[in-house]
């Protein structure tokens, strides 16, 4: 025993040796099978390199001028859509998130609300937009409905988690005064989740604006339509301008919302 040197090694991330080796094996088989089953057309990519270079150069210089009317109109349309969809979505989310909080809702309502949330979260905005455009026709209304619906999934899920985390005794105290259910929510629950509510609203506003840029591609109106048109017309300079505008607006929104959030705390 004594002639063995004491050695120290850094503790491995996963303690069980078998599990460690198993995981490594699993990951490598996965990577290998991905590599084997994915058809990558190297020929096309090699061809694509000069083409891609031309394509990228086609974006320069960004052209804000030629289609400035369309860009402005698209942006404003996106803004209206975002504002309306965020408000409508949040208003609907409030009852849904109360229903989806285990500590508030009866079992039946709970499962119903969870179902609504899961359904609305399962489909990416673009898929929803395809269907709403089909049902309601082209234009910002379908886009607005899409954004409202996906707001519900996002907002109600996160808010209901916050409702489930409230301080129970504060809520209990309000119940013990003989308040009815609505008063109980208004006094015992709402004050506790208000900071989160405001934070989430601002965050969702930001997300909805970004999403509005892409549902336009499938006909949901807004700046996405402008972008799509620019691509269709091979006006890549205009497309570049649109992208730059989107980036700057997102930056502005993000900056203001983080400031607002700090103020509210």
């Amino acid at each position: 025993m004594n002639d063995k040197k004491v050695i120290w090694k850094r503790k491995p991330l996963i303690k069980n040796r078998l599990l460690r080796i198993g995981l490594i094996l699993l990951i490598s088989t996965y990577l290998l099978s991905v590599f084997l089953t994915t058809e990558i057309d190297w020929q096309r990519i090699l061809e694509g390199i000069p083409r891609g270079k031309n394509f990228i150069f086609a974006f320069f210089p960004p052209d804000f001028i030629t289609r400035s009317d369309e860009i402005l109109a698209g942006i404003f349309e996106s803004l209206w859509m975002t504002i309306v969809a965020t408000i409508v979505g949040i208003l609907i989310s409030i009852p849904v998130s109360l229903g989806a909080a285990k500590n508030i809702a009866p079992k039946f309502v709970y499962f119903l609300s969870r179902g609504v949330i899961t359904l609305s979260r399962s489909f990416q905005e673009v898929i929803l937009a395809i269907f709403f455009v089909k049902l309601m026709g082209f234009g910002p209304f379908a886009g607005m409905v899409t954004l409202s619906l996906s707001t519900i999934g996002f907002f109600a899920k996160l808010l209901s988690e916050d409702i489930e985390d409230i301080n129970k005794s504060q809520a209990e105290a309000i119940k013990s005064t003989g308040s009815n259910w609505f008063q109980w929510v208004n006094y015992g629950v709402q004050p506790q989740v208000m900071p989160r509510f405001i934070g989430l609203s601002l965050y969702r506003l930001d997300i909805n604006f970004r999403e509005s840029a892409v549902i336009g591609i499938v006909g949901g109106g807004g700046i996405g339509s402008t972008l799509n048109t620019a691509f269709d017309r091979y006006e890549f300079e205009t497309a570049a301008a649109v992208l730059i505008v989107i980036i700057s607006i997102v930056m502005i929104v993000e900056y203001t919302s983080s400031h607002l959030r700090k103020l509210i705390k």
Binding site: I40, G48, G52, T118, P140, F141, A213, I217, E254
Partner: protein, 271 residues
């Protein structure tokens, strides 16, 4: 002062006159803006279609049922591709996000004036552009297929993970770093012993979270030709094969619920 003294008694109100007025003004303005925006939208809407949409929806549902179940076999490969786009894309995205996050964080950036704004710009650009738009651009460059999807998802993930990660880095405990600096460690050692252990939990949970989101995103990059189940969806909608579309939608729901279940499991195992 919310206590209001009258001649012979005093009373209490939550807000004084001025705040009350401000509140009403805010609500009024809010309603005004909302109605204005809604008015503009409605002026571009053909209401006939909207009011008729429930008929259209019923019609569509009728065509979707019963789903063409044996079509599912054709879907296995696209679903596999979708999972790969999400997984490989997330991996690439997070790997690139790590150095970018260190360059962006206030306390680790080598140069606040020059490199930090540049890194932040990369992060914001990646975040502001949706995966689908990235896919649209990439399909034009590398051609349609899974590769474009992987890169698109990766590019979009850089910004998301980068932002959350650099915020986590900025919140690390400086005392621990100091303690390690005090032992005479060099920069790389400070990194491995002081910073990495502190942000590792945040890093794992961010990447898992993004993977969950990316499963959803990967279902749509195919709509613009970037691989995965979206290609099938686009094709079947184009063919008006609604009984097949419903199978695809079902598959997507299952994939999303499955990914949510897995992420919940992993999160529990890690914490």
């Amino acid at each position: 002062m919310p206590i209001i003294k009258q001649k012979d008694y005093k009373t209490w109100k939550k807000f004084d006159r001025k705040r009350d007025l401000q509140n009403w003004l805010c609500w009024f303005l809010g309603t005004l803006i909302f109605s204005f925006c809604f008015g503009l939208i409605s002026s571009k809407t053909i209401w006939f279609y909207v009011f008729d949409s429930h008929n259209e929806a019923l019609d569509l549902l009728g065509r979707m049922f019963p789903p063409e179940t044996n079509y599912f076999l054709t879907l296995i490969k696209p679903i596999w591709d979708t999972l790969n786009i999400a997984t490989i894309g997330t991996t690439i995205g997070t790997l690139i996000a790590i150095p970018l996050a260190f360059l962006s964080a206030n306390n680790t950036t080598p140069s606040k004036k020059f490199i930090r704004p540049l890194a932040l710009f990369c992060i914001v650009s990646s975040r502001s552009i949706n995966s689908v738009i990235w896919a649209l651009l990439l399909v034009a460059v590398v051609g349609p297929g899974v590769l474009a999807g992987i890169i698109a998802i990766g590019l979009r993930s850089i910004g998301f993970c980068g932002k959350l990660l650099y915020e986590a880095i900025e919140e690390i405990d400086e005392n621990q770093i100091e303690a390690i600096e005090a032992t005479g460690a060099n920069k790389a050692q400070i990194m491995t012993f002081g910073i990495v252990p502190q942000i590792l939990p945040a890093f794992t949970s961010i990447s898992i979270y993004r993977w969950d989101i990316n499963i959803r995103e990967a279902t749509v990059v195919g709509l613009v030709g970037a691989g995965g189940i979206g290609i099938e969806l686009d094709a079947q909608i184009g063919d008006l094969a609604w009984a097949k579309v419903s199978v695809i939608l079902l598959a997507i729901v299952v994939a999303v619920v499955f990914s949510e279940w897995i992420t919940a499991k992993i999160r529990k195992a890690i914490i």
